[in-house]
Each structure stands twice: as C-alpha cells, then as structure tokens.
C-alpha cells in the first residue's frame, strides 16, 4: 500500500522548504491587502481632489455613509432578503428541474436526440433578451424568477448530461455483467460517479441565478438589490448604487463559501 503519511521527524531541508512556503504564503496575503487598500485609497483620493467627478464615481467614505443611510431607513435588510430569497428559490428550481431533465435525457437516448438541437439553441440564446417577454407574460415578480431560472436551467441540463455521458464505460459494462438494468446503472454508477459534475454545476449556477435575479429586478421590482441599483442611479445617488454593489459582492463571497463547504461535505 502506498504510504503517504509524512515522516515523523522532518529533516532540516524540509523545515527550510516549509519556512519558504510559509513566507511565500504571507507575501501573497500582504500583496492582496495592499492591492485592495491601494484601490480604496485611490478611489477616495482622486474624486475628493477633483481628478475625477465624484458625482460619477462616488468614493469609499461616501459609500460607507450611504450604507448607513440605507440601514437607518430600515430597508436594507428587506432589499437583501428579497434578493437572496429570489436567488435561492430560482437556484433550487433550476437545479432540481435541470437534474430531472438531464436524467430523463440519459434514460431515453431517443428523447435526447430529438431535443439536442433545441437545447443547444436555448442554451446559446441570451436569456436576458427574454426579460421583456417574461415581464408581459408573468408580471414583475414572476418575470424575475423566470429569468433567473432560464439563465441557470439550460446550462445545468447540458453540464449534467455531458457528465453523465462521459461516465466510465468500463464501470457501466461491469455493472451490466453484474445484472444491472438501466435504472440501477443510473443509481449505482452514473449519479455517484458525477458528484464532481454536480458540484461544478452548482458553482456555476449560484452565480448565474444571481445574475438572472438582478437583471430581472432591473426590469421591474419594488425591492431587492437590483431595484436599489436602478433607483439609486435614477436619483443620481452613486453612493447608494456603489453600496448595493459592494453588498452584492459580499453576497457572492458568502455563497462561494457556502458552496465550498457543501463540496467538502459531499466529496469527502
């Protein structure tokens, strides 16, 4: 058996190597912090000294005030909550629906052959173009979900189906020699062998659902971060717009961390 446990007593050379690795890691962190601070400093300095128009760019301290302004109005929680809710619901629907459809396609190659060109076109079609239609058909709330689901659904189907099809043919043959039928091949080989595909799809989809929701909110909404951005830009409150964008990026980071946790749990 391959013994991969490290030596109990590391050699001097190893300790030196480990120390170099540690220094490199610290350099990277310092570099990132410097980049962020430099960017914030420039963003604060340039508008305040008339190098760029503060009306257009706003600046960090103003964004900070705008942020507190929003909290003081007592609406920020609502906006974040609405957007998060929309993201989670449409993400879940796209994921479940996409998985079910991908499984059906895998179970029925005939269906897959018939639908293939349509799926490719629907996937390539910029779903954003459908926003006005969704709005007319489904109204303000419905259209937000519809866009977000449409953006994530087709890529889910294609990614999962491709993953299913690339499953190891030797493993499928083996399952057949043991007497497995189509459904058992699915549950014993295809699905457990595609956990990593599923995770990749998950990662792609949270981002896409967020994009879909924000675009949907741009078109028509009374709450949500997308609404805040549009509203802020209409009344020319750049600080408000920027605050909303900063919150959006924090949400993305949060989602990324959650997905990473889920991946660690699932692929253990």
């Amino acid at each position: 058996m391959a013994d991969t446990t490290p030596n109990a007593t590391p050699s001097v050379a190893y300790q030196n190597w480990a120390a170099r690795q540690g220094r490199a890691r610290r350099k990277v962190i310092v570099g990132r912090l410097l980049l962020l601070l430099g960017f914030l400093a420039l963003w604060e300095y340039a508008p305040r000294n008339g190098m760029v128009n503060p009306m257009l760019t706003s600046y960090p301290s103003a964004v900070w005030d705008g942020f507190w302004d929003l909290i003081a109005q007592g609406k920020l929680g609502l906006h974040i909550g609405v957007t998060l809710m929309e993201v989670m619901i449409s993400f879940a629907i796209a994921m479940i629906l996409g998985t079910v459809i991908a499984i059906c396609l895998w179970l029925s190659p005939m269906l897959e052959r018939v639908l293939d060109p349509f799926l490719v076109v629907l996937n390539a079609l910029p779903k954003i173009a459908l926003v006005p239609i969704f709005y007319i058909w489904l109204g303000p709330t419905g259209s937000i979900y519809a866009v977000a689901i449409a953006v994530a659904l087709f890529i889910t189907i294609l990614m999962l189906y491709t993953g299913f099809n690339q499953s190891d043919p030797n493993k499928i043959k083996l399952a057949k020699t043991l007497g497995a039928g189509q459904v058992q091949i699915l549950t014993k080989v295809i699905l457990p062998g595609n956990v990593h595909t599923f995770m990749a799809t998950l990662k792609a989809n949270v981002g896409l659902s967020l994009v879909g929701v924000i675009v949907g909110e741009f078109q028509a909404s009374k709450a949500g971060l997308g609404y805040l951005i549009v509203y802020g830009s209409q009344i020319f409150r750049m600080d408000m717009v920027m605050a909303a964008i900063v919150i959006l990026s924090l949400i993305s980071v949060g989602i990324y961390l959650v997905v990473q946790k889920a991946e660690a749990l699932l692929t253990r």
Partner: protein
C-alpha cells in the same frame, strides 16, 4: 477432467457450449464480421485460455457467454440452456478492475449482491470472508485509490466471487499490472480458481500465461475469429499432479507449446 469434447455420454450437457456461433456488429460505419463458425465446449472445472491477434473477437466471445449481447446466429449454451442475459452464475473480470472509487473495498465487493437484491447480511459476511482470504482483510474499509495494482485486481476478483459464480470469464485481467505483479497475481488467482473448482475462460495476449494457467488453449484466427486449433496442455515430465503456474514454466513441454502456438498465431488464415 480434460479434453475429450466428443463421444461423451450425452446425459450431462457440457458446462459451456458454442454451437455454430456467428456474430456481426452493426454500426453506422458498416458491418463487422467478428466471430464465425464457432464451435467448442468446455467441461465443468476446466480452465481454458483463448489467444489470438488483436481484434479477432476474443472479448466478443466472452460478452456472448456473459449475455451482454446475443449471437447473430447459432447458440451459446450454459448447462445446456441458451444464455439469455447476465446471470449471477457467470462472473466477468474485465481488463480494468473498474473499482468504484467512491466505495470502500467491501462496498465494491457488495455491488453485485446489491444489484441482484440478495440477502445483504449474508453477502456482507461472505464478502468479508472472501476478501480476507485474498489478503485484503486489513483494507476492507479502504478506498480503491489506497491500494496497489495487484491488490486492486484481487479486490476485483473478490467482487466477482461474492456472487458465487461457477463460471469465471477473465478478459486480460492482468494486463494493467507490471511484470512482477502480473506473474504472482496470475499464479495466485489461478490457484484460487482451481481450488474452488470453478470453470474458467481466460483471454490473454500473453502466450506463456495462457499455457501456464490452462488445461486447454484455444487459438483463434484473425478476424472474423474462427477456431484455428485447440491445444491440450499436459506436462507428463512433471508427474501425475500438475504443479503451480510458476513451476510449469520451466517444463520442457512448455517451450514446445509456446513455439507451436506462437507460429500458429503468426500465420494468417
């Protein structure tokens, strides 16, 4: 229990019988005649090797026997009954061990019983006993990636044996191993199969391996695979009882068998 395929009393049908088997593959690119006019029988407890050039239809024969596909014409019979589909009676060891990396060794061995809906506690006890016999007792709960090539191959044999088949099909099961491991594993697995009295068919490109492990060696012609010759493998110089796979390699008959089979495989038609 060797040899004679004709003139036996008809009361007990042979364990395995190919009767006028033809097989054509159909694909969008055209038709491939893979197996032609195949006739042979295998008795219970016999160990048969099949050799032949690449693409001559060796794997196809095993797939037919396992019931993964049906003949174009002719019949494949096990115990006198036509093969309809995969059955627990036939165990198939493929070239790739195809252990599922998301399952432990024990769980891999339990794949067959799960699929067949067997009594799981009994299957589990059986799997533990078999794997322990094969020297994997300490690794029941390890993942396949933590095992060496030889150990993986033994785990794959354990997975096959857990279904308690009485026929074993081996399609180049050792070709992914390095030379040293290959020699010892093939000896080891050959011993296990003989000890348990299984009927076995081994497909291999390695002529010495084919001779060392088998009671008879079947030589196929290039595609479409026809029966070219069947060699009875005996070692009179080594006495009544046949010694292990390793020992027979030094016998004087061994070189003759090798030479004959090698020349046969080289010549076309």
């Amino acid at each position: 229990m060797t040899g004679d395929t004709t003139g036996r009393p008809l009361a007990v049908p042979p364990k395995i019988e190919f009767r006028n088997v033809e097989l054509h593959y159909f694909s969008t690119k055209g038709e491939t005649h893979a197996v032609s006019d195949m006739n042979f029988t295998v008795n219970k407890g016999e160990f048969i090797s099949i050799v032949g050039q690449s693409g001559c239809g060796k794997s196809t024969l095993l797939s037919l026997l396992c019931g993964l596909m049906q003949t174009t014409s002719g019949q494949v019979l096990i115990d006198g009954k036509p093969v309809k589909g995969p059955s627990p009676q036939v165990g198939f060891m493929l070239q790739h061990d195809s252990l599922f990396e998301w399952r432990t060794i024990l769980e891999n061995a339990l794949l067959g019983p799960e699929i067949r809906g067997m009594d799981m506690p009994a299957a589990r006890a059986r799997a533990e006993r078999i794997l322990t016999n094969y020297g994997l007792g300490q690794f029941l709960h390890h993942r396949p990636t933590q095992l060496s090539g030889g150990m993986r191959q033994r785990a794959a044999l354990g997975r096959t044996m857990c279904m308690e088949p009485d026929i074993l099909l081996l399609d180049e099961p050792f070709s992914a191993l390095d030379f040293q491991t290959r020699m010892s594993i093939s000896e080891e697995i050959g011993e296990i199969i003989r000890r348990e009295g299984k009927t076995a068919i081994l497909v291999t490109h390695d002529i010495p391996e084919a001779i060392a492990m088998a009671d008879r060696v079947i030589v196929l012609s290039p595609r479409p695979g026809r029966l070219k010759n069947i060699h009875e493998i005996t070692f009179p110089s080594l006495g009544e009882v046949r010694p292990g796979c390793m020992a027979v390699r030094d016998a004087e008959e061994f070189k003759d068998y090798f030479h004959t089979i090698w020349t046969e495989m080289e010549s076309d038609g």
